[in-house]
C-alpha cells in the first residue's frame, strides 16, 4: 500500500503537490482541519477535486498532527492507496445527541459485509453522545470488527464542529469508512496516563451525559473550587480534571470522561459520554511524563498489528491532554512515532473524544483524555 502525508497552511500552501497518481477506488484521503476551514473551504475543494474516485473524509480539530508536528490553522492530510483492500463510505445524521445510538446502527447497516474488518469513524464532537454511539456499534457489529476514530474538535471554543464527506462539510453528521478484505491489518491502542486523586463521590443527579450533582452538591461548584482562579477559563479549564467513573461497585477499571460543555444557568456539566446516576466518580489530574508515557504505550499497542511495510498511524488525542501538555504537546506525538515501526506515517488531530475497542472485550468504546492510535497497513 502507498502512504503519503502532507500539510497545508494558508501561508505556505500544500507541502507536497497533490494529484492523480494515488487516486483510485481503493484510496482513502483523510483531512484533519482547523475549524475555520468550514468557512474557507477552498483547499478542501481542491483536495476533493484531486481525488475524485477516492474516499475523502475529514473533520474539524483542536489541533492538527502531521508526523511529529502539531499545528493550528492548518490541514493535516494523509493519502493511502490500498492494493487489495476495498473501501466503503457511510454516514448518518445526528440531529440531537439522542440520535447517537441509531446513527451507529445505521452506519453499521450501511457498511456491514462478511469481509468487513474495521471501521474508521469521524463524528460531530458536540451534538453527540459518544458512549451511545459506541454502544450502537457494539450492538450492530461482531466483536472482531474494530471501530476506531474520534469526535471532531473546535479548538478550545467548544461551540461548533464539522465533518467532511462527499466533498462537503457538515454539522451533526457521523461519517465512517469501512475496510474490507483479508489483507488489511488494523491495529489500535489507547491510553490515558491520568492519575486519580481525592475522595470518591456519588453521582446523585444526572441525565444521560449531563452531570448536575455530586454528593448532593452542584458538580460545577466542585470544579470551580478546584480550578480557583482558572475557573474563568471554563469549560476548557475543566479538561484539567477529567472524571474517573465507576458505574458499579464491581468495576475495577474506571472509565474516563471529558467535559464538553458547561451550563451556568442549570449548574450542569456536559460530558462526552454517559454519567449514570449512582455511579462513583473521582477527579483525575495529569502528570506530563505519564501522559507522554501513556501515548507511547498507546502507540505500542497499535504497532502490534502493523506490518513491516508502510503503515499509516492515525493519532487521535484528546484536547484535554493538549491543555495540560501545553507547549510540550509535541512530545507525545514524538513519543508515539518513536514507538511505531520505522517508516510509519503519522497523521491525526486533537479531538473531543476517541473511539477504540476496549481490551479485545468489545469492538468499540468511547474514551476520553487518551491518545488513541489506529494503525492501518496491508499484508500480502
Amino acid at each position: 500500500m502507498n502512504v503519503q502525508t502532507l500539510h497545508y497552511s494558508e501561508a505556505s500552501g500544500f507541502s507536497t503537490p497533490i494529484g492523480q497518481p494515488l487516486d483510485s477506488a481503493r484510496t482513502l484521503v483523510l483531512v484533519f482541519a482547523s475549524p475555520e476551514f468550514a468557512r474557507h473551504p477552498a483547499p478542501l475543494d481542491t483536495i476533493t477535486a484531486a481525488y475524485p474516485n477516492s474516499v475523502v473524509v475529514g473533520c474539524s480539530t483542536a489541533g492538527e498532527i502531521v508526523g511529529t508536528r502539531l499545528a493550528d490553522h492548518s490541514l493535516s492530510i494523509a493519502i493511502v492507496r490500498f492494493d487489495r483492500t476495498d473501501l466503503a463510505l457511510a454516514s448518518a445524521e445526528v440531529r440531537h445527541s439522542e440520535d447517537s445510538y441509531e446513527a451507529a446502527l445505521s452506519i453499521a447497516r450501511q457498511l456491514k459485509r462478511p469481509d468487513l474488518r474495521g471501521i474508521l469513524v469521524l463524528s460531530d464532537g458536540l451534538n453527540i453522545n459518544g458512549s451511545e454511539l459506541a454502544r450502537g456499534f457494539r450492538t450492530a457489529l461482531p466483536s472482531d470488527v474494530s471501530v476506531t476514530g474520534g469526535l471532531a474538535g473546535d479548538g478550545s471554543r467548544f461551540s461548533q464542529t464539522w465533518v467532511l464527506s462527499r466533498g462537503r462539510t457538515g454539522e451533526r453528521i457521523v461519517v465512517a469508512v469501512g475496510f474490507y478484505g483479508d489483507h488489511v491489518q488494523i491495529g489500535h491502542g489507547s491510553q490515558g496516563g491520568w492519575d486519580i486523586f481525592g475522595p470518591e463521590r456519588l453521582v446523585t443527579r444526572s441525565e444521560n451525559n449531563v452531570l448536575y450533582e455530586l454528593d448532593g452538591k452542584p458538580a460545577l461548584e466542585l470544579y470551580k473550587r478546584y480550578l480557583g482562579d482558572r475557573a474563568n477559563a471554563l469549560p476548557a479549564a475543566a479538561l484539567l480534571f477529567p472524571l474517573a467513573l465507576r458505574t458499579s461497585e464491581h468495576d475495577t477499571e474506571p472509565i474516563v470522561r471529558t467535559i464538553l460543555a458547561v451550563d451556568e444557568s442549570q449548574q450542569s456539566m456536559t460530558f462526552a459520554g454517559e454519567i449514570p446516576e449512582g455511579s462513583r466518580a473521582r477527579l483525575m489530574h495529569a502528570n506530563l511524563d505519564r501522559l507522554v508515557q501513556g501515548a507511547s504505550h498507546a502507540a505500542t499497542g497499535g504497532a502490534r498489528m502493523a506490518t513491516d511495510e508502510s503503515t499509516l498511524a492515525i493519532a487521535i488525542s484528546c484536547v484535554g491532554r493538549r491543555l495540560v501538555l501545553g507547549e510540550r504537546t509535541e512530545e507525545e506525538i514524538e513519543a508515539t512515532l518513536d514507538a511505531l515501526p520505522d517508516g510509519s506515517h503519522q497523521v491525526g488531530f486533537y479531538s473531543y473524544g476517541e473511539l477504540c475497542p476496549q481490551n479485545g472485550a468489545s469492538c468499540c468504546e468511547l474514551h476520553n483524555q487518551t491518545m488513541t492510535i489506529t494503525t492501518i497497513s496491508e499484508r500480502n
Partner: protein, 740 residues
C-alpha cells in the same frame, strides 16, 4: 539540553551555538516566557488540587469520626440501658478478677454502692464466704484457662452486713478473637425459690405420710375386721358340724352366709383400695383361658339354675390353648360380670362369648362378651355404673344387693391388665359387657384337647337340648372339630333321628342328652335308647345339673355312658365323649369335672378333716374352697399368714393349705411360726400353694417345714392327691413333691 528548549530552538530555526537575530530572540523569549507561565499555572493547579483535596478528605474524616462517635454513643447508651434494666445482677470482671462493670441490680442485691466496688477485686470484697474463697478463685482460674462456662444452681454470697444471700449464678468468658479478655458474672436471688422449694418438699412429705397413714389404717382396719369375721365364719362352720335341729341349722347357716357376705364386702374394699394405691400386682402365668371362663360360669351355676336362667359358653374357634396373664384376676373380672348378669336376669340366658380380636405374634387380644337377657341398663346410667359405689338406681341396691364396688374393681382390673370394659345394653332386652384384654402368647401351644379330639374325628354325634343357644354352639363347635353333628330340641325328635340313622346304616356313635327337657327328660330318653336294640350301640352322655348331682348319679343308675355337669366344661365334655366312643381311652388331662369321677371309688379318707385355707386372693380362695367342698372336705379361709397362724393356734385344723405369697405375713414365715407353736398344732400338715414351679421354691418350702405343694392354678386332682398323701403319709418323714 532540556528537550523542550531544544524543540523551541528547532522551531525557530535557531541553534545553541549561534546567537539569534533580535526578532528571533524576541520570539524565543516569548516561547520561553510562555513555558514559564504555563509551568506557574500547572503548579498553581497542582497545589490547589492538593490543598482542596486535603480539605475535603479532612472534612470527610471529621464527618466519619463524628458519625461513628454518635453511633458509638447510641450503642453505649443502649447497652447501659439494657444492663441497668436487667433483673439479674451483672458483673464484668477483668482477667485478674477486678470489677470493670457492675449493674444496679447487683449492687442492690449485695447491698453495696456501685461506685465503691468499681475497680476492686471480686474475691477480696467479702461477697464470698471465707471458706469458699480459695475454691472460687480456683474456679475462676479454671474458667480463664478452659473458656468453659461455670454454672451453679445454688451458691451463698455474703452481704456486707454478714447476712447470707442464696443465689444461682453463671460465669462466662468474653473473648476477643482467641483471647479471653473478661468474665461476665450473672447472678439471681434464689431466696424465694429456695423457700418455695422447701415448702413444696414439706407439703409433699406431709401428703405422702398422710397417704401412707391412710393405707396403713385401711390395712389395719381390714385386718382388724377380718380377724373376728373369720372367727364368726369359722365358728359357725364348726357349729354347723354339730348336731343341730332344723331351726338351729337354718339360723347358723344364715349367720354364716351373712359373715361370708361381710367378708366379701371387706375383700372388695381392700381390693379397691389396693388398686387405687397402685399396689395391686398381677401374676404372670401360663393358663388356659377356656378354663377361666368355664370357672366363672360354674360359680354362678347354682344361682342360675335356681332362677331357671340358662348358661352358655362360646369359646370360638381360634382361642390359643395357653395365654400368659393373671388367671385369678381375669376370673375375678369375669365372675363379677357373670354374677351381675345372673343377678339381673329373671329369665332367658346368660353366657360368655370369647373371640380373638387381634392375633399378633407377640400378643393376642381376646374379647370376652358377657351377655344376658336381663333388665338392661338405661343409657344415662351406663357410664355411672362403672364408678365406685354407684349402682344403676338406688332401688337396684334394695332389690339386688351388692356393694357397688364390683364393676369399678372389674374395670380397674381390666385396665391394669392393659384392657378395657365396654357396655352395650337395651332396657328390657339385656346387656353385653365386653372385656378386651391383650395377652402375650404363651410358649406352650399344645392343645390340651388334642388327644380327645383325635379319638373323636369323624364320629357322628347327636346333641339333644331344648336350649337353642346350647344347640347352636355345640353344633358349631363339633363341626369345627371334625365331627359329624346333628341336633334335636326334644326327646321324641331325638328318637326319630336315632332310628332313621340306624335304619340308614350310619348310626350315631354318640348321643349327648340334656337332662332337663320339656317332655321326656334326658334320662327317660336314655332309658329308651338303652332298651332298644337298634339303638343301644349309641353311647350316651347326660348333661346334668347341680340338682341332679346332689340327688343321685343318674348315669350310675342307667349303667353306661357318663354324665357331665352343666355348665359344661369343654375339655371335660371332649374327654367324656372320647371315653364313650373309645372304651379304654385314658385322657392325659384329667377332666376337671365337679363330682366324683366314675370308676374311681375314693375312700372318703378323713372327710371329717377340717382344712384351713390361707389365700389372699378371694377368688382363688373360693376356688380352693369349692374344690375342697366337692372333694367333701370342710374348710375355712383366711387372707394372710398372720391370720393363718392365729387360726391354727386358736382352732383345731387338720391341714393347712398355705399360699406362699400373701400380704402381712407370707406363707413361708407363717409356716415357720406355726412350726414353732407349742403343742401338737405345730405339726399340722401344710400344703403350699404357689405360682412358681422353680427349683428354689421347692427347697424353700422344705426348709420352712411345709409337707407338700401344689402349683397354681389349682387342679382338683393334684390337690386331692396332695391332701390324701398328707393324711395318709402323716407319719411319713419326707414330703413327696410329686406334683412339681
Amino acid at each position: 539540553m532540556h528537550v523542550l528548549l531544544a524543540r523551541q530552538l528547532k522551531r525557530l530555526g535557531l541553534s545553541a551555538a549561534a546567537a539569534p537575530s533580535a526578532t528571533d530572540w524576541e520570539k524565543f523569549l516569548g516561547h520561553v516566557g510562555r513555558v514559564y507561565e504555563s509551568a506557574d499555572q500547572d503548579r498553581y493547579t497542582l497545589e490547589r488540587s492538593l490543598e482542596i483535596s486535603s480539605e475535603e478528605l479532612h472534612q470527610l474524616n471529621e464527618d466519619v469520626r463524628r458519625q461513628s462517635e454518635s453511633a458509638l454513643a447510641i450503642e453505649r447508651d443502649r447497652l447501659h440501658g439494657i444492663i441497668a434494666s436487667m433483673g439479674d445482677g451483672l458483673c464484668v470482671l477483668d482477667t485478674d478478677g477486678r470489677i470493670l462493670l457492675i449493674n444496679d441490680e447487683a449492687a442492690r442485691l449485695m447491698g453495696c454502692d456501685p461506685a465503691q466496688v468499681d475497680g476492686r477485686g471480686l474475691f477480696g470484697l467479702g461477697w464470698i464466704p471465707r471458706e469458699e474463697r480459695a475454691h472460687s478463685v480456683r474456679l475462676f482460674q479454671a474458667l480463664l484457662e478452659s473458656g468453659e462456662p461455670y454454672r451453679s444452681e445454688q451458691t451463698t454470697f455474703v452481704k456486707p452486713d454478714g447476712s447470707p444471700l442464696t443465689v444461682s449464678l453463671s460465669m462466662r468468658a468474653i473473648r476477643r478473637g482467641e483471647e479471653i479478655v473478661a468474665v461476665v458474672l450473672v447472678f439471681r436471688d434464689m431466696t424465694e425459690a429456695v423457700r418455695t422449694q422447701e415448702e413444696l418438699i414439706r407439703a409433699k412429705t406431709a401428703a405422702e405420710s398422710a397417704v401412707r397413714a391412710k393405707s396403713e389404717f385401711l390395712a389395719n382396719m381390714s385386718h382388724e375386721i377380718r380377724t373376728p369375721l373369720n372367727g364368726i365364719i369359722g365358728m359357725t362352720g364348726l357349729l354347723l358340724d354339730t348336731t343341730l335341729d332344723g331351726k338351729q341349722h337354718t339360723y347358723a347357716s344364715t349367720v354364716r352366709l351373712c359373715g361370708e357376705s361381710l367378708l366379701t364386702l371387706i375383700n372388695d374394699i381392700l381390693d379397691y383400695s389396693k388398686i387405687e394405691a397402685g399396689r395391686l400386682d398381677l401374676e404372670s402365668l401360663e393358663f388356659d383361658a377356656a378354663t377361666v371362663v368355664e370357672d366363672a360360669l360354674v360359680f354362678v351355676a347354682e344361682g342360675a339354675e335356681r332362677k331357671g336362667v340358662e348358661l352358655f359358653c362360646d369359646l370360638g374357634s381360634d382361642l390359643p390353648p395357653h395365654l400368659v396373664g393373671d388367671p385369678g384376676r381375669l376370673r375375678q373380672v369375669l365372675l363379677n360380670l357373670v354374677s351381675n348378669a345372673v343377678k339381673f336376669t329373671e329369665r332367658g340366658e346368660v353366657g360368655v362369648v370369647v373371640r380373638v380380636v387381634d392375633n399378633a405374634p407377640s400378643r393376642c387380644v381376646v374379647r370376652f362378651d358377657v351377655s344376658d337377657t336381663g333388665i338392661g341398663i338405661a343409657e344415662d346410667v351406663r357410664e355411672r355404673i362403672f364408678e365406685s359405689f354407684s349402682q344403676a338406681e338406688t332401688s337396684t341396691t334394695r332389690r339386688f344387693g351388692g356393694t357397688g364396688l364390683g364393676l369399678a374393681i372389674a374395670r380397674r382390673l381390666a385396665e391394669l391388665m392393659g384392657g378395657t370394659i365396654t357396655l352395650e345394653s337395651q332396657v328390657g332386652r339385656g346387656s353385653v359387657f365386653s372385656v378386651s384384654i391383650p395377652f402375650p402368647q404363651a410358649a406352650t401351644h399344645t392343645d390340651p384337647n388334642a388327644r380327645s379330639l383325635a379319638a373323636l374325628k369323624g364320629a357322628r354325634v347327636l346333641y339333644v337340648d331344648d336350649h337353642a343357644t346350647s344347640r347352636r354352639l355345640a353344633h358349631a363347635d363339633f363341626v369345627r372339630r371334625g365331627l359329624v353333628c346333628d341336633v334335636a330340641a326334644e326327646g321324641q325328635e331325638a328318637l326319630r333321628m336315632l332310628r332313621r340313622a340306624s335304619a340308614e346304616g350310619s348310626p350315631f356313635a354318640l348321643a349327648i342328652l340334656d337332662m332337663h327337657m320339656p317332655g321326656p327328660s334326658g334320662l327317660d330318653i336314655a332309658r329308651i335308647i338303652a332298651g332298644d336294640r337298634a339303638l343301644n350301640g349309641t353311647r350316651l352322655i347326660l348333661l346334668t345339673s347341680l340338682a341332679d348331682r346332689i340327688a343321685t348319679d343318674p348315669s350310675l343308675e342307667v349303667g353306661f355312658g357318663d354324665s357331665v355337669m352343666k355348665p359344661v366344661r369343654r375339655s371335660a365334655l371332649y374327654q367324656a365323649m372320647a371315653s364313650a366312643v373309645q372304651p379304654g381311652f385314658a385322657g392325659s388331662v384329667k377332666p376337671v369335672s365337679p363330682g366324683p369321677e366314675p370308676g374311681r371309688r375314693d375312700a372318703p379318707v378323713s372327710r371329717s378333716a377340717r382344712i384351713l385355707v390361707a389365700e389372699d386372693n378371694v377368688v382363688n380362695q373360693r376356688v380352693v374352697l369349692g374344690l375342697l367342698a366337692k372333694l367333701g372336705y370342710r374348710a375355712d379361709a383366711v387372707r394372710n399368714g398372720l391370720e393363718a397362724v392365729q387360726a391354727v393356734a386358736a382352732g383345731a385344723y387338720d391341714l393347712v393349705i398355705m399360699d406362699c405369697q400373701m400380704p402381712e405375713l407370707d406363707g413361708f414365715e407363717a409356716t415357720r411360726r406355726i412350726r414353732h407353736l407349742a403343742g401338737p398344732r405345730a405339726t399340722v400338715p401344710i400344703v403350699a400353694l404357689t405360682a412358681n414351679a422353680m427349683q428354689g421354691d421347692r427347697e424353700r418350702c422344705l426348709e420352712v417345714g411345709m409337707n407338700d405343694y401344689v402349683t397354681k392354678p389349682v387342679d382338683a386332682a393334684r390337690l386331692s392327691g396332695a391332701l390324701q398323701r398328707c393324711f395318709e403319709g402323716a407319719a411319713a418323714t419326707s414330703p413327696v413333691f410329686e406334683n412339681v
